[in-house]
């Protein structure tokens, strides 16, 4: 270990503190806002500690604005997307990694290039298709779209992971009489559990946070997802900052807990998918 000068050490800790405040500060402020009375929010001296503490904004968000409808829609869409992404993605990654697919490098590049398409260029034509098929205001339109958005990353990361599993296992399984699907189901997938969890989580977050397609494809609270719901919280005459903060906390806190719990895997997964190709 190299000795750092006292000055360097102080600078590093000061920098780390700045990063911490910068990353977590705004969210903490928003979180605190959700527990404060409107009166406290418009007072001259803002305070980080809610005093008095109130849950009225949570009551408003659920009872008046029907937040639970949006939460339910988002849950259905995101969970279905995650499941489909994992099924299709692991099949694709398995085929590209283990079966003798011609031009597999080309296929991987094409899959990657898909994630570069600007979504605004897709939303018009897809809207027309969804409209022709009668899929507007349905979960299906969103699930199909999010599947396409999530698959490139899922396939890439799983492919990378499958490639690290030794081929000797395949041969041993084959000698034991395990078929191709059996190899994937009984051997490769159980061994890839950490990677499946990470990519599943990434697909879930993508679907949970998506806004543009949800905005275009849905128009009522029976099908709109949370981001669209929150975007529409503002009424014409005033902005209910407290209610918005409460709704934000409801959709963000579970996500942050998940992310912090799986952070090591996520950082690995992201950096593999994002940079190592």
């Amino acid at each position: 270990m190299n000795e750092r000068s006292a000055f360097q050490s102080i600078m590093i800790y000061f920098g780390a503190l700045l990063i911490l405040i910068w990353s977590a500060g705004p969210f903490l402020w928003q979180f605190s806002t959700s527990f404060q009375h409107d009166k406290a929010l418009t007072e001259g001296t803002p305070s980080l500690i809610p005093d008095p503490f109130t849950l009225e904004h949570y009551y408003n968000a659920f009872v008046e604005k029907g937040l639970h409808h949006y939460v339910l829609n988002s849950l259905v869409v995101s969970l279905a997307t995650t499941a489909l992404c994992l099924i299709v993605g692991s099949l694709a990654a398995f085929a590209l990694s283990r079966l003798d697919v011609k031009g597999r490098f080309g296929i991987l590049m094409v899959i990657l290039s898909v994630s570069m398409f600007p979504q605004i260029a897709l939303v018009g034509p897809l809207y027309l298709i969804a409209s022709d098929l009668g899929l507007l205001d349905t979960y299906r339109a969103l699930i199909i779209t999010y599947l396409a958005l999530g698959l490139p990353l899922v396939t890439w990361v799983l492919f990378g992971y499958f490639e690290t599993l030794p081929r000797e296992i395949d041969e041993a399984a084959r000698i034991d009489g395990v078929g191709v699907i059996g190899l994937l189901w009984h051997i490769i997938l159980p061994m890839s559990l950490p990677s499946l969890v990470t990519t599943g989580l990434l697909a879930f977050i993508t679907a949970w946070n998506e806004f543009l397609f949800a905005l275009a494809f849905t128009s009522d609270r029976d099908s709109q997802t949370i981001p669209v719901g929150i975007a529409n919280f503002t009424n014409q005459y005033y902005v209910p900052w407290g209610d918005i903060a409460a709704a934000s906390a409801v959709v963000t806190v579970p996500l942050i807990v998940l992310v912090l719990f799986f952070q090591r895997h996520i950082i690995e997964g992201l950096t593999q998918g994002g940079i190592k190709e």
Binding site: S23, M116, A121, L151
Partner: protein, 276 residues
């Protein structure tokens, strides 16, 4: 299959639509050649949005790379509590952009926002600023929101890049008495350059299609001062229902993205040639 039908087909279809006068109101659907593109090139609102998008992309990618690099250099050092800082950095990334937008709307609220309160008490401003309501500050404040949301992710990418720089190289330079700055400038930065370029490319392409932040924070206003290509395109598509003209805007945007990607790739190839 699914990728093909949900991504490639719509792109081709979108390019085709841009040569038609398809409208969901008048029910027109005729081939009109390059008429939409001629209209586009003479449309001041298109160029207005084009410049905003270019400025947004340049400013946010530049700032995010710079600040991200500083963050990565700090996180590269061993110190107690590093894990907590690294974890905290994922918070902005995990948040839905719509939530980020609303949050910044509240932080920068013209009357009761905490930012105005802090700046006022620090004596940096002498009266409340209407950040998102004034054309002079709106775009800058949106850029700030984007920087907040994405810089940590950039820092993580760069951190992985930094960690691949061989420690022995840095040790050797230290033994030779090189200063931290010299080590950064002559060893770390050159080796990090490919990572910087790729991360920058990803960021630039992403920033170029900014939609959620603008749509939720200002809706393109005030006085079109924050209109970007994505929000303009969305409005033409879904407010006026002119799918032909709207597709021309998004196709033009797609083309510009291709050019950005090409420029980055040229840099990258040149850089890789130099280092190998």
């Amino acid at each position: 299959m699914s990728l093909g039908s949900v991504s490639f087909y719509p792109i081709v279809n979108g390019v085709y639509l841009s040569f038609t006068n398809r409208s969901l109101i008048t029910q027109d659907n005729d081939f009109v050649g390059i008429a939409n593109y001629l209209q586009l090139s003479a449309d001041p609102s298109f160029w207005n949005a084009w410049w905003h998008t270019i400025w947004f992309t340049t400013a946010s990618t530049g700032l995010e790379t710079l600040i991200g690099l500083v963050m990565a250099l700090i996180l590269c050092e061993a110190f107690s509590g590093r894990g907590i800082v690294r974890a905290a950095m994922l918070v902005p990334w995990a948040m839905p952009t719509v939530v980020t937008s609303k949050m910044f709307g509240w932080l920068f609220d013209g009357q009761h926002g905490i930012i105005n309160f802090i700046l006022l008490h620090a004596g940096l401003i002498d009266q409340n600023v209407n950040w998102y309501g004034a054309p002079e500050t709106a775009l800058t404040t949106i850029i700030l929101a984007d920087v907040w949301k994405t810089t940590p992710f950039m820092a993580l990418l760069l951190l992985t890049g930094l960690q691949t720089v061989p420690k022995s190289l840095i040790e050797a330079a230290r033994v030779d008495g090189a200063r931290a700055w010299t080590i950064f400038w002559n060893i770390r930065l050159p080796l990090l350059l490919p990572t910087l370029l790729i991360a920058g490319l990803f960021r630039a392409l992403d920033a170029f299609r900014v939609f959620d932040l603008v749509y939720v924070l200002t809706g393109g206003g005030p006085a079109d001062s924050t209109e970007t290509l994505s929000t303009l395109s969305y409005k033409i598509l879904f407010s006026t229902l002119q799918f032909g003209y709207g597709s021309a805007v998004s196709t033009a945007m797609f083309m510009t993205e291709g050019v950005i990607a090409l420029v980055f790739c040229l840099f990258l190839v040149r850089q890789l040639r130099k280092t190998t």
